[in-house]
Amino acid sequence: MDWLGPEEWQAVALSLRVSLWATLASLPFGLLCAFALARWSFPGKQLLNGLVHLPLILPPVVTGYLLLLTFGTRGPLGGPLDAIGITFAFRWTGAALAAAIMAFPLMVRAIRLSVEAVDPKLEEAAATLGATRIRIFATVTLPLILPGIVAGAVLAFAKAMGEFGATITFVSNIPGQTQTIPSAIYAFLQVPGKEDAALKLVTVSVAVAMLALLLSEYVSRTVARRVGGR
């Protein structure tokens, strides 16, 4: 892809890496949260629900600043993690963390809806046939919520690709380190004569987002047909 300069290419590659990690790393937590909210009853459930959805409503700059306070090298979580070699502040890992947090509500929502759509009666039937809880989850529940997991993951990936406010607040805008596509577009627009580069990245952004949507639609349709018993 010659038409992308090394600087732009760097931003695209970083964005893909950040979004992929953000999605994969948050998937287990997203699954757990979705199950907790859909199936379990426990004290503080509403609090968890609020907490999960908070990044959706808070100004991204606030989320980013809170991340900086918490996961900065002197933050209550960032300090100890830094001591064992996991650093978030001003690193691409921090960009991934910010993107994961911002995309989390979308992921949980999609998975939760699919969990709620699973008829617990099917799981009961599996139990009467001799299946343990783990087997029921692996053979009945998981295959049935697969469309929701795929939809949630793709949605989260697309959201992570576009995350800007929280990322730039938390990990700044360092080329090659934390400069994702949106940050790069923003930086290029601040410099006269860089509009071309900005426009190229805008094109990439649109293409990736469109591709993600089409892919999610296709996958969830295929899986839904299978799960629907036809």
């Binding site: 099917l122 039937a125 599996a126 009467t128 018993g229 036809r230």
Partner: protein, 365 residues
Amino acid sequence: MTLSVRMRHRFAERRLDVAFEAPPGITVLFGRSGAGKTTIVNAVAGLLKPDEARIAIDGRVLCDTASGTNLPPQRRRLGYIFQEPRLFPHMTVRRNLMYGHRLAPAGVTRPDPDRIIGLLGISALLDRRPGTLSGGERQRVAIGRALLSAPGLILADEPLSSLDEARKAEVMPYFEWLRDELSIPMLYVTHSASEVARLATTVVAIDNGKVLRQGPAGEVLSDPAVTPLGARAAGAVLETRVVRTHPDGISELDASGLRLFLPDVGQPDGARVRVQIAAHDVMLSRSRPTDISALNILPCTITGIRLGGGPGALVQLRAGENMLLARITRRSVEALGLTTGDSVFALLKAVSISKANVADVLTDL
């Protein structure tokens, strides 16, 4: 093998306090909807934890609240046939059928899948998914899935009620086959009198959270005490044998000495046939009527009369070894001066017994 159940449970401001035994064959839990039948079955399945219970199959205790035993459903070894088939939508019919088969504990004799599949007539469906099957096919697959898990007990909760009449007729014979073939008990929930009449070996009539009557089907269904469960439900069930079918299309049946004449039952001579005679189809007469169209005039002795709150009355009759039930008006009881011990004649129009009231018994008992 015999299932014994004793349980107390409170649910939705109702109380359930029942004790009964289910020997091999079909034990029907019979009663109005909301009587607690499904609650009992779910407690036996382990899907619900009863307040106080002891549930055991012979010596194997499934649940004993006194000693704190409560096996989870997957360790109870049961085949549960639900009202809606509950097939796994993402699996083929074959994988659905084999789901429990693979999970049966070692040392248990597993039924041969090919034989079960053949008997249920579902071999053409194996590679299809449940979403493409008809209601009757789905329920047959569900029966197969339950059987193949090598259960020690079968539970069926209104397995026919979600099917239309044609599908019911398609699936019903398989339950008759189960009843006659299996040596394990089956607990079958229904509020349909015709299912009770066709399928039940033993009936446990439940009302208001209590066991109203339990015993062999013929006895319980002809017991006037059971009629509050629905006037239409009242009736007798006779075990008969086809003597011959006459050229004019009338079958002659023998019910331990009693002769019955019905429209062609479509069974060969010598076949065993179960006949349900609804109480409202039976008329009574003090003397043997002559010049009457009814083909069946049965001499009986009155063994009990129950007057309801309304204008109706139920008269329990004994004809040889058979119990019959007649639903007549209180006015007729008074006009004829009927009392327990009287000899009367029960009149039954042959045509009032339709095919739906007649079931063939596949094997000799």
